[in-house]
């Protein structure tokens, strides 16, 4: 059980790392949204699922409830994070931000 939890958390951390590096290194706004939208959401999901699993170690009603709430956060993040990113993209398009292209000169 612990092994699965550790594995999931480390996967999540790798996702988060990718997200952070992507946000830092990508050249323009739209490409930065990609790691922010996908990797952060994914990393968050993995770590939260792992923690919910870890929480169920001592199985009882209250830990089940807590686990359920953590899963609720997962669902919520899954729902809201892409929407927020969509809102930001929409804002960028409306604000007239052009996408980055590799310029010759």
């Amino acid at each position: 059980m612990d092994l699965i939890v550790v594995f999931l958390i480390i996967c999540g951390l790798i996702f988060f790392t990718g997200g952070a590096v992507g946000i830092l290194r990508f050249p323009d706004f739209y490409s930065r949204l990609h790691p922010a939208g996908k990797l952060d959401t994914g990393g968050g999901l993995l770590i939260l699922v792992a923690l919910a699993l870890f929480n169920l170690h001592h199985f009882s009603l209250s830990t089940l409830l807590t686990g359920f709430k953590i899963i609720l956060i997962v669902v919520f993040v899954f729902l809201s994070s892409p929407t927020a990113i969509h809102g930001i993209v929409d804002a960028g398009v409306r604000a007239g931000l052009g996408p980055w292209t590799k310029k010759k000169d």
Partner: protein, 276 residues
């Protein structure tokens, strides 16, 4: 001004750092702050109020009077925002734009009424020509009831977990603000009109202060919830717990409506027409 600022900052900082030398070190259990008043709160509050969350117990019972004025502060902030910004209704007609949802044709109408009727096939567009985004609208329509349910849970469960009237009230208020952001300010006002939330805001504080006054009428000191035992037919300790719950509901109501009130006034510049 900049140099003056730096001088003031350095002087104040020097005073504070000078005084820091005599502080007990951080998180030291032997510090006087932990050993004079607070041990009694920790040891006795469960048996005196039967509320496991010590912060709630101290907030709403031992120092309930502070909390009453804290609620009054937030109420005052709502009233002040209204008082400063709200532009009273004028009957001169204003131009409003509507878009036919099927064809995308936009028409302008001169209207005098504050809130036009909801039309099936026409969608109102604000002066900046931004219809609400469909994805965000749908997603938020799912989330708003969930948020409200969560807010109610936070208010009701404040005895056993972090939370309470204030936090729950802010979440409830935020749900209405979310509605206003994702749809339109007018939609949110349609759900809860200005008069309703203005009155509810005072009613919220009134519940708190009224509970206190009720205790006074029943023969004990102001805000001594033990007096409620006579009406609720329970022992005084449980009466305290119930009294705290009643008070938290009042706080939640006041905070929720005050947040909505402030947001509506700020985001629409007091016109209650179109917001963020």
């Amino acid at each position: 001004m900049r140099i003056f600022g730096i001088i003031v900052v350095i002087l104040t900082g020097a005073l504070l750092i000078y005084a820091m030398g005599d502080f007990p070190s951080w998180a030291d259990p032997a510090s006087p702050a932990h050993n004079h008043v607070s041990p009694r709160y920790i040891e006795k509050s469960l048996e005196q109020t039967s509320v496991p969350n010590l912060v709630t117990a101290v907030l709403a019972d031992y120092r309930g009077y502070d909390t009453m004025f804290e609620t009054a502060v937030i109420f005052a902030a709502g009233v002040v925002c209204f008082f400063l910004l709200r532009i009273p209704r004028k009957d001169e007609p204003t131009v409003r734009r509507y878009r036919h949802t099927l064809t995308g044709i936009t028409i302008s109408v001169k209207e005098t009424r504050e809130i036009p009727p909801v039309l099936e096939e026409f969608e109102r567009i604000d002066t900046l020509w931004t219809p609400p985004d469909l994805i965000i609208k749908t997603c938020c329509r799912i989330l708003v009831p969930f948020l409200q349910l969560f807010g109610l849970y936070v208010i009701a469960h404040g005895h056993h977990s972090p939370g309470g009237g204030f936090q729950g009230g802010v979440i409830l208020g935020a749900s209405m603000i979310l509605l206003a952001i994702s749809h339109d300010l007018r939609t949110a006002i349609g759900r809860m009109s200005e008069r309703v939330h203005a009155i509810l805001c005072s009613v919220g504080v009134f519940i708190f202060a009224g509970t206190g006054a009720l205790c006074l009428v029943l023969g004990l000191n102001f805000l001594d919830y033990g007096a409620l035992a006579r009406i609720l037919h329970v022992d005084p300790v449980t009466a305290r717990s119930h009294g705290i719950l009643i008070v938290e509901i009042g706080v939640g109501l006041a905070v929720m409506t005050a947040m909505i009130w402030i947001y509506n006034n700020i985001s629409s510049k007091g016109k209650y027409d179109e917001g963020l």
